[in-house]
């Protein structure tokens, strides 16, 4: 009996500890081991405590000397004696504020999320691995090693990250690690490269090959009218009429394009919502109130917490640079020093092409290429899955690239992909921003960015001496006309890219006569550029509006630029709405109808947060668009092809009022354009009443949010009230928008700069600096950027000293 009395509490104790030590699976979610998670000495209470533990710190590091001064917005100003030391400290602060973000995003690029959250991420991981992001990162590292000086700087950055990681206990881990029950890994150059590949996938990992192939088959002779590559109204990045001093005829030997005979491909379309992108522009002294050049940039990305950007200043004997950085790689990505400023937007070239493979049989072990059967090669991927056995995935490899989808039911089944990241770079990409950061003039700028391979970017530039420039920089594949716009025949060798445009010859303009440069993801050039290229799914409204404003107003100052970045004027509405309204019969309208009509009629085309007309207009355009293209909005077809853009639809509505497509197929009568406008308007009124949208404000209808990177609702912001929409300069859609707004005026006294992003410096939820800038950002306000010349010019909130 005594033994039993003794045994019971011991047994209960063992069971209790076992229970507290084990993660508990509830449905699709895992509750972390409760013991260490709840303990106030190690668990989430330590993260609660850490949000206020701000103090000056001295770190004894064997080889580094310098200081990090954090200002009142928690922006680190790094003062170091060498670039290596500065990058070490940059790695350290990136890890201090953004470790989980860096770690998780690069594991995602590598296809390793199943290790953390289990089998529900298996398809995600498989897709990343099949696309070859990790393979490409490994290739890049081998190239980087050929540039020892640059590679050493990347290693210094990694050392800084790792110095922070190595001094962490469980109790110090960011809360996401505790919730997901995993631990950080040491940082390596490979992981910095993975970050770059991840951005490449975001910015140049899209295509419309299948959609265009099917649309061409479906629309036949009308295809060129409905899917024009150059819209007559568009205003390209490089001013129209620019002359080019090279040609590529000798490189491509007049190869005939042979991609037009594949017919309809019954594969589901995969494209994303168009209309979003980024803006940058710059005015030279002749268009500036103060005679100083001004540069503006707002890259539009998926908005998340922690934010993708991190603000920072780096001061060493050879540079004093300020701007935003990517946690995960060294240097300043968008920013300025006392001599130059630069900003970037996405180029949008199509650098991901798909090839239809003629397989010998379903086993996919051999395929026909260049008049012979070739054996398929394979790459085996071992995917670790939390709580389960490893999963092996076999990736078939062709001369074109990997077969990304091998499930019969999947989109793009059996097609091979050729993507720019499969072609090794000739340079260390990290060197690009290191050189830009210390640049002094337009020559340094051109020299630095010519090493940038992908994703192709529009680099806008100003210098204190008054130069302005814009370069569309990246590896541009040389293609024959229409090549890569459709799925290509993978049996023909000649369907390969024909090399690349020399990196020094990509489209660029320096000090154009008009006195400004700009880009908003529109077409890079007019038709005169010597090389054929197609681009993705961006539209031209923003670019056209920016150029219109910059042309119309003679002189600009910083306040004007702030207003322009937050401008919510819709060129789409301006071009479409009068043409729609004129077809309505206004004689027999009821009260609601009259009010809706009045709102639309009197609308100033501004997507302001409190306006109601944008709600009506967006809904109406959507209904109208679907009715016009009802031929392909039938269920069987809409899965496989794509409708003409609404930019094209609006142009046709004005220029071609007798188009046969206005007829609604499902109705027995023959409809005209006027009928479609009226029917869509009636449908709009019905939806306004049935969905309770009458007098609904735009911000409430849009219902923008900023989600946490791992979609943990408590760490996100469920509603942000702000103006803007896709296709307008303030391109803020529901979860996507200006991820960093920056304006820099380079004066003789030094740079005057302003900036803000929708997040906060400290990526740890609960920190006062976690989302401290969101409110100001949503109202179009800016922070004055604290660019200092010496360590004594700053009164820091806290200081970190690195001592040998």
């Amino acid at each position: 009996m005594k033994i039993i009395k003794c045994f019971i509490p011991i047994l209960l104790s063992i069971l209790w500890i076992y229970f507290l030590q084990k993660a508990i699976i509830v449905g699709d979610n895992a509750i972390p081991p409760l013991g260490k998670f709840i303990s106030p000495f190690t668990g989430f209470w330590q993260n609660v405590r850490a949000t206020k533990s701000i103090q000056n710190t001295v770190l004894n590091q064997m080889h580094k000397e310098g200081s990090i001064l954090f200002d009142d917005r928690m922006v680190p100003h790094i003062f170091a004696q060498s670039t290596g030391d500065a990058y070490f400290m940059q790695g350290y602060v990136h890890a201090m504020h953004r470790l989980w973000q860096m770690d998780f995003s690069t594991r995602a690029a590598e296809g390793r999320i199943s290790e953390i959250i289990g089998s529900k991420a298996l398809n995600f991981d498989r897709n990343k691995r099949r696309k070859g992001l990790a393979e490409s990162a490994k290739q890049s590292i081998e190239v980087w090693k050929k540039f020892p000086e640059a590679y050493k700087l990347v290693e210094a950055y990694c050392d800084g990250v790792n110095y922070y990681i190595q001094h962490l206990d469980y109790k110090d881990l960011p809360i996401e690690y505790k919730l997901m029950n995993f631990e950080p890994e040491l940082w390596t150059p490979y992981r910095s490269s993975l970050f770059h590949k991840n951005m490449a996938e975001v910015l140049c990992g899209r295509d419309q090959d299948i959609e265009m192939t099917n649309a061409k088959t479906f629309f036949g002779a009308d295809f060129d009218l409905l899917f024009p590559e150059y819209d007559p109204l568009s205003d390209p990045v490089i001013p129209k009429g620019t002359k080019w001093d090279f040609n590529v005829d000798s490189l491509i030997n007049q190869v005939e394009n042979s991609n037009q005979d594949l017919g309809f491909i019954p594969i589901q379309r995969t494209i994303q919502d168009p209309g979003l992108g980024s803006n940058n522009w710059a005015v030279g002294p002749s268009k500036s109130v103060n005679g100083n050049p001004i540069l503006c940039n707002d890259p539009h990305l998926n908005l998340s917490l922690p934010s993708i950007w991190y603000e920072q200043q780096i001061v060493t004997p050879d540079r004093n640079v300020y701007g935003v950085t990517f946690p995960g790689i060294p240097g300043v990505i968008i920013g300025f020093n006392k001599d130059i400023a630069w900003g970037i937007t996405n180029g949008g070239w199509d650098v991901m092409d798909w090839y239809q493979i003629k397989w010998k049989d379903e086993s996919m072990t051999s395929y026909f290429y260049n008049n012979e059967w070739k054996n398929t090669e394979y790459r085996i991927e071992r995917i670790k899955v939390k709580g389960q056995q490893d999963v092996l995935d076999t990736v078939p490899l062709t001369v074109w690239g990997p077969v990304v989808y091998n499930q019969i039911s999947h989109a793009k089944y059996g097609l091979a992909m050729h993507w720019i990241i499969q072609d090794p770079s000739a340079y260390c990409e990290m060197d690009v921003f290191d050189l830009l950061n210390q640049g002094k003039n337009v020559g340094d700028y051109r020299n630095a960015i010519q090493k940038f391979p992908y994703p192709a970017q529009n680099f806008a530039f100003i210098s204190r001496t008054g130069d302005i420039a814009l370069t569309v920089q990246g590896k541009m594949p040389i293609k024959v006309n229409q090549q890569g716009r459709f799925v290509m025949d993978g049996t023909k060798k000649e369907n390969a890219w024909h090399g690349f445009v020399p990196l020094s010859s990509t489209p660029h303009t320096i000090n154009p006569i008009r006195g400004f440069v700009s880009s908003a993801n529109q077409k890079s050039t007019d038709r005169g550029f010597p090389v054929y290229y197609n681009d993705g799914d961006f539209r031209d409204y923003r670019g056209t509006m920016i150029n219109r404003y910059l042309s119309e107003k003679k002189l600009w100052n910083v306040d004007d630029m702030k207003a322009l970045q937050y401008n919510a004027y819709s060129l789409r509405a301006e071009t479409a709405l009068p043409s729609l309204l004129k077809y309505l019969d206004t004689t027999s309208m009821n009260s609601v109808n009259q009010q809706v009509y009045h709102e639309l009629k009197s609308w100033n085309y501004m997507y302001d947060s409190n306006a109601v007309a944008p709600v009506y207009f967006d809904l109406w355009m959507d209904i109208f668009h679907r009715l016009v293209w009802d031929e392909i909005s039938q269920d069987t077809l809409k899965k496989y092809t794509v409708m003409p853009s609404d930019q094209t639809t609006i142009r046709l509505m004005k220029e071609n009022i007798n188009l046969s497509y206005y007829d609604i197929k499902s109705s027995p009568t023959k409809e005209s354009l006027q009928d479609v406008v009226r029917i869509s308007y009636d449908s709009l009124l019905n939806q306004i009443q049935s969905k309770l949208l009458f007098q609904k404000k735009w911000a409430d209808y849009k219902h923008a949010s900023i989600d946490h990177m791992a979609r943990i609702p408590a760490f996100g912001i469920p509603f942000v009230s702000t103006s803007g929409s896709k296709d307008i300069i303030n391109a803020h859609a529901r979860t996507f928008g200006p991820s960093w707004r920056m304006i820099v005026e380079l004066t003789k006294d030094g740079p005057h700069a302003y900036g803000i992003y929708p997040g906060g410096q400290d990526g740890r939820p609960g920190s006062p600096y976690y989302r401290s800038m969101v409110s100001d950002w949503s109202q179009g306000k800016y922070n004055s950027l604290n660019y200092v010349n010496t360590i004594h010019d700053l009164t820091p909130l806290i200081t970190y000293e690195f001592k040998k």
């Binding site: 003794c6 209790w16 949000t51």
Partner: protein, 122 residues
């Protein structure tokens, strides 16, 4: 007086364990403490529970109220919308049960070796 002393011993040991050792050491140290105390099984559990509860609740309360961090509320939201006070109760409960079980086990081992006389209890 003796009981207060016992409780103080428990609290000190648990604070020590909390700051320097993995959480399960509070169970082991509670057991060791109870082993050297001439107390009944019920009292052992009660001392352990109260001390564990006080230490975990007190420390978590201190961190929360000195930081005013919104993180506590966020954590509650993640766990089915638990309130901040519920998080305190759960923290205190887990700390208390862990230390209580340890003390109970320690006292039970002692009683197995040296049979317990009810008269010892004051």
């Amino acid at each position: 007086m003796k009981h207060s002393l016992n409780l103080i011993v428990f609290v000190m040991l648990l604070l020590l364990a909390g700051f320097y050792l993995p959480f399960y050491w509070m169970l082991i140290l509670s057991g060791v403490a109870a082993f050297f105390m001439k107390i009944s099984l019920i009292r052992a559990f009660a001392f352990g529970f109260i001390a564990g509860n006080m230490v975990w609740l007190g420390v978590s309360y201190f961190y929360h109220w000195t930081s005013f961090s919104p993180l506590t509320g966020m954590i509650g939201e993640i766990f089915q919308g638990l309130s901040v006070s519920s998080l305190f109760y759960i923290t205190g409960l887990i700390g208390g049960v862990t230390a209580g079980l340890g003390a109970w086990s320690g006292a039970a081992i002692r009683h197995l070796i040296w049979p317990y006389n009810i008269k010892h209890e004051m």
